[in-house]
Symmetry: C2
Subunit: 363 residues, 2 copies
């Protein structure tokens, strides 16, 4: 490996969103990346953010997003702006040759996402959405289980949830429930994870149709606060999910296969940062007189040296490094997974908007 | 308490079903009941059953169901016959003044169940369906949690599963998939538990509508092998369930409330006979930087001196004893819960039969 290859990827961050604090820490914790620049419409805000989030002393503080994109030393940008601003800033970033780590929901609809993905592709850039749990080593272990024809068999039913309870102020004033900023509401925020979890459990095979299961709840501005939906595959397998800002925290996947099943209760953010748990059962029966399980379910604890968001940054930076210092091409699987998630969101949204009719999912 | 009151309730069993072995053991283990008679269309079969299931030496062996019902010393009958025979034998049992512990599914439809319930009521008899998990002390503890306005709040979403994998022979030849014996298939067998779990989690408030979520799978004889459905309450809350003979064993309840959530993975039959576990979370948030759960979820282990089916027999026999030896009237809540479960089954069945339309649930 040439010496050049060992240099960390230099990140610029657009905006001082709360989630950017978590990702700044992740960039610091990731061995192959460094916090290089922060831009905000307010220079003072950017300066305060950098100071309170362990930015190196030499990090660039900018009073605009443009300045970050114009800095030739920025390799990649992390974009945690409100969703309605993604199209503009993500495309601009790509035009300025910045690799793109994009916060979810990635776009207001798949039409917007396509423009972002096209801009990245046209410029040979790595795209990745910031879905942190995808990068936890537990996720890989669970996926191995789901892929095991003897232990799990083929997926028959999967249910996913992601909910948390917004305060009254959150439900009216948070960015995530503002029609001009994040018009998808809970569907784009917590629903994104449920849909990703379902696609993941189905080895990314897209369902055929989506259908909302009830008249959802909205805030005064008409933004979704709670939603439950079902997804149906060609072969009549069903997935269901529940996403909400109106319930206590839940992050469940219950995936049932012909030969086994998988359960995890904290797939989005593990209870503990340094280890995470999942449970499986395989080829169980009721035992003698149907008085118990034989064999019993299993429990697996997967340790993680650095948090899942740092592993995400590490993987992203590794792909960026391969392009920058080597002769790798961008890994397009992250764009494909992102797009599949978005088309399902769009279909669920359409089902809600058309009175709970079943809506065809088109990739 | 008069001396008479301490006498155990004498059970007669109609038929030698496999499940009758488990319930025979439960009657033996229950302190207030005794195995008194077994009847089968084959005297030899009844004799063998009694010998291999620890019947007392003085137990009566009969070569017909009628003989059990005609024995004046039989206080109560347990009826594990195929569902299509319930109407006839349960009503006849009631006419012969036998209290009734009825295996589920209790009837082919609510019209049949009503005749059974009317016969019990007309004769002042105790009715109970044989849904064992209702009687585990864990169930009561979980219900306390669900009823706690500060720990759980109000139910927002609930998902239940019960599945197990039938062998190819089971799927064509078992009683549970024979159109003339148990025409409800998996909906009457595993679906019964899912629906009961959902009603239980909703404090028995009946949903307004039921809708099957996919074209179910059938065996060659046209009996349901797998089904997924949603239930919708008046206030737009949703429940979903998955029941199947085509998946590995699963028995999940995921109930999410405004302030907490409940998870159990073996609600139908606990992994272990002498203790059972459930998990809750309450008022959790993401903690600093959204890197974990605060507070963490809790785990509760509930011990049980005797198995849940023996606790069921004990409760039933206690109610019967109150009528026989005291001046108690029959406890009608068991009939009400049974009927609510049946009307939901009927609505799901109707939704399947009418091409997945939403069907009104009428009590």
């Amino acid at each position: 490996m040439a010496k050049e290859e060992t240099k960390p990827i230099r990140f610029g961050i657009l905006g001082c969103a709360e989630i950017a604090r978590k990702v700044s820490r992740a960039i610091t914790l990731s061995p192959n990346s460094t916090l290089y620049a922060i831009g905000s419409r307010s220079y003072e805000k950017a300066k305060t953010f950098a100071a309170s989030n362990n930015f190196p002393s030499h990090a660039k503080i900018y009073g605009s997003y443009d300045a970050v994109l114009d800095d030739p030393n920025v390799d990649a940008v992390y974009v945690p702006l409100p969703t309605s601003l993604h199209l503009r800033w993500a495309v601009l970033a790509a035009q300025k040759k910045k690799h793109l780590l994009l916060e979810k929901p990635v776009a207001l609809n798949v039409g917007e996402l396509d423009k972002i993905l096209e801009a990245c592709e046209a410029n040979g850039l790595q795209y990745m959405d910031s879905t942190m749990w995808m990068h936890h080593p537990r996720t890989e272990k669970m996926f191995q289980f789901l892929s095991d024809p003897n232990q799990f068999g083929s997926l028959q039913s999967v249910h996913a949830t992601f909910s948390y309870r917004g305060s009254p102020d959150f439900l009216e004033n948070d960015i995530r429930v503002k029609p001009d900023l994040d018009s998808l509401g809970t569907l784009g925020d917590t629903g994104w994870y449920c849909i990703r979890a379902i696609l993941w459990a189905a080895n990314y095979e897209l369902p055929k149709t989506a259908k909302a299961l009830h008249k959802p709840k909205y805030n005064k501005a008409g933004v979704l606060l709670s939603c439950e939906a079902s997804l149906l595959w060609e072969d009549n397998r069903v997935a269901t999910f529940y996403c909400s800002f109106l319930s206590d925290m839940s992050m469940d996947i219950t995936a049932i296969g012909t030969k086994g099943s998988l359960r995890v209760h904290d797939y989005v953010i593990p209870n503990e940062e340094n280890e995470a748990l999942f449970r499986t059962s395989s080829n169980s029966d009721f035992g003698e007189l149907s008085t118990g399980w034989n064999p019993k379910p299993s429990e697996f604890i997967i340790k993680s040296d650095i948090p899942q968001e740092a592993l995400m940054v590490k993987e992203f930076a590794n792909l960026v490094g391969g392009i920058k210092f080597g002769d790798s091409k961008a890994e397009n699987k992250w764009g494909i997974i992102s797009r599949k998630t978005q088309v399902v969101i769009d279909a669920v949204k359409a089902s809600i908007d058309n009175g709970l009719e079943s809506v065809l999912i088109r990739y």
